[in-house]
Symmetry: C3
Subunit: 337 residues, 3 copies
């Protein structure tokens, strides 16, 4: 895949070579994200960070990634005041907003909305989430995290063992991750979910027909064993027909230090797409894991910045200019990164 000038709308656009290209560029971004060096490669460029469905974390992550490349961000954080709410078409909104920026990130609750917007946009568009459908940079940062964590342990994605835990029926992050993992070879999937929230069978069939192993279960005891990665998700209550129905499943499957110690191998990496709901009725990933060095959830969000920087750099064709425009950071930077 040639990234220059392309929209990024779906994980379906990626093959193994293009994933590896993104990861290679993301690796190069580490000194900038760690505030060891500053680059100004996109000085003068403008990101349109158009979040018609609010999401603080994702919005700030994209904006920060753009700023770290030297560019400016113009943004919107809701739909109420927008022309879309007054009957404007996605076509018109896209034609107008694409005159204001060099690249647009768009999030909107309506499935397919970002693709419709991108079709009319005069600049590249990255899907920042369109309802239950796609959020490709999340899937890429999850996969990138898996890759980095496994590499640290001398392992690789090919041949690894992953346990996916929780609401596998509605979890957009899990679905996209399964699609990307399906590209690799010989992965063992352990799917752990309540009966009613199992991964849709189309995903399971795709994985099996690509040569992967898939085992389903509904309790942690059997499912967690022999996993390199445990990927826990929250119950996607906004996708259920009623809040009451969602409530039935919240907190059914929980990972805490005791469960981890009892069932997991010592270096099993713990992931979660965040936010984790720490309220008593949910609490699917317990705070008592916070000091467990295998808890990779904040390395995931850190990696999100690298992946987004890489996508920006590839789409705008500046990946090869980053270092040439760079200099050391001249201010205090926290060692804790």
């Amino acid at each position: 895949m040639n990234f220059i000038g392309q929209h990024i709308l779906s994980v379906d656009q990626f093959d193994r070579a293009s994933i590896e290209e993104v990861f290679r560029v993301a690796d190069n971004m580490i000194p900038y994200a760690l505030r060891q060096r500053v680059t100004r490669v996109l000085e003068g460029a403008i990101l349109g960070n158009m979040f018609f469905e609010p999401s603080t974390r994702t919005r700030v992550s994209f904006g920060c990634a753009w700023n770290l490349l030297g560019g400016e961000v113009r943004e919107t954080t809701g739909i109420k005041a927008s022309a879309l709410a007054k009957g404007e078409s996605f076509y018109d909104t896209a034609r107008v907003l694409s005159g204001y920026s060099d690249l647009i990130v768009m999030r909107h609750e309506k499935m397919g909305s970002v693709a419709e917007f991108a079709a009319a946009s005069r600049v590249p568009v990255i899907n920042g989430g369109d309802g239950a459908n796609e959020h490709p940079s999340q899937a890429l940062l999850d996969l990138y995290t898996i890759s980095r964590e496994l590499t640290d342990q001398g392992k690789a994605i090919d041949g690894m063992r992953i346990a996916l835990v929780g609401d596998l029926r509605f979890g957009r992050a899990v679905h996209s991750l399964c699609k990307l993992l399906g590209i690799y070879r010989n992965i063992s999937f352990s799917l752990i979910s309540p009966e009613a929230l199992r991964l849709p069978s189309s995903y399971i069939e795709s994985l099996r027909s690509a040569g992967h192993t898939v085992v389903e279960s509904s309790d942690m005891a059997s499912g967690l064993q022999q996993a390199d990665i445990v990927y826990v998700t929250r119950t996607q209550e906004e996708r259920f027909e009623s809040a009451d129905e969602a409530q039935r499943y919240k907190g059914l499957l929980r990972l805490n230090q005791a469960v981890y110690t009892q069932y997991c191998e010592p270096n099993t990496v713990i992931m979660h797409p965040l936010p984790r709901d720490t309220r008593a009725e949910a609490n699917e990933l317990d705070n008592d894991l916070n000091d467990n060095p295998n808890l990779a959830i904040f390395r995931q969000t850190d990696n999100g910045v690298l992946i987004r920087m890489a996508l920006f750099a590839l789409i705008l064709n500046v990946a090869d200019q980053i270092d040439a425009t760079s200099r050391p950071v001249n201010w205090y930077t926290a060692k804790r990164f």
Copy 2:
């Protein structure tokens, strides 16, 4: 008019020479808005983009124009959390906020609020819309679009023929445009509106006493013929006493490709201040015109960036420094601009 350090509150401030100066500077901004070149002339300057009445399009357009000159933007997008909502006067708000920036763009639903704010501001203020009253950069971008479109056809504003269609009673954009056009010579105005939404007679009298021709009608058939420009507007429902009353007029006058083909000359330029309401009950400017090369509505919004850059550059006295601080763009830029 000497722009340096001035507030821009009303189209009444402009004479023909000052309009032409704005347009000349706007022309110089084209390579920057097209992302062929980058300028950093306002590097270090701060725009206070104070939208106490939300408007995504106008807010982002002003912010983008400032960023394209190299400056930073601080902004607010509503009134609920502001001190204004807690009983603070416009005087206090202006004294405070003008300590934070080099120039302020302000939008507020209350008529006259921006002038009141500007009187207390310590930095130049541009009116980004104060209710039914004024939105001078919209009028300037409309006029600039008319000028560029006509020039492309070997015509000029002097002597041109324009049809204004829709809610001419409440349309702020139409009123301001009429004031600016009145400065020029020998224009034929065709005013097409429901009987109850006619252009206020004071505007008609001004135009006639300045030597222009004005003809009124209430249907497209007669009114659209022999126009160089057709300027369509939406029903300004927020200005009516009730939504029901506004509903009576929505969609009464519609321009679509069939109407265009039947009544318009082949190169008649189509304009609209946007947003256009594409819902079935409104739809005053049909999507079937989207491929008509005479549809200039997105050139209008693009031109808005140029006009706002020009106003910033003139007020802050940097129009002559733009090119000296510029360099070629080093990233991929879409050809579709």
Copy 3:
């Protein structure tokens, strides 16, 4: 106090030497805030301006201070759309957001929230206000204003006379200011408030035991005399049990030009933490004082930018690099600053 890499959570962190260091750096910032010179010392650095409780003035002031040092700002302006509202812990929010920026300013209505956030943050955090608790940069800017105003009159904080007027029971700004003033020597405090809104006795005892003089009264006539500074506050209605109760106290104590002329010495400086409520039922600081040169309320907000620039520069250890990276401003700047 060594500022490098520190959180600023409370005025209790400051001793006299560290206050004087902040003020010295703030003085150096004057040419930049006045737009005489531009510095780019933080070019490439990102501020996370996280206002989970909205506050236009404070948010824009911090953002502007950061921009004036050359850095970029990513921000949030409410809590509704944030993960915090979906059950995320302050710990998680802090771990995530501190991966996106070099320094975070946080405001949240919950007392103690910012300290909890800072404990988990990987970058320095400044408390931008946590409910009734602390807002240290406000206290510093108040003290800095007192210092500059007195210096202009050939006086000093040591030995000065200050009248504090209004809701002294709930006023966070007054409490913090009393703590900072307590560090100095031999100050005369005149506390003027309704009986029910007196300064909590713990503050009075602290001041007295540090050798200061404290006199309480409930009317302006006696209290205002012989003051170098009059610091007026609004009734903090959000801290009362009911709006009705707060209503009883609004407007009980008012300063206007007539009162000023009758009771104050000719050069008594008038301060207020703003916003002032100009509605008839409140109006504790009358607009008829706007032309009184001793009205320092807008010098206070201007000084806020200097203090915030100084805190940023000290925490990130760039105070000594400011001038080296600077150049003259090249655009029009209003004389009225």
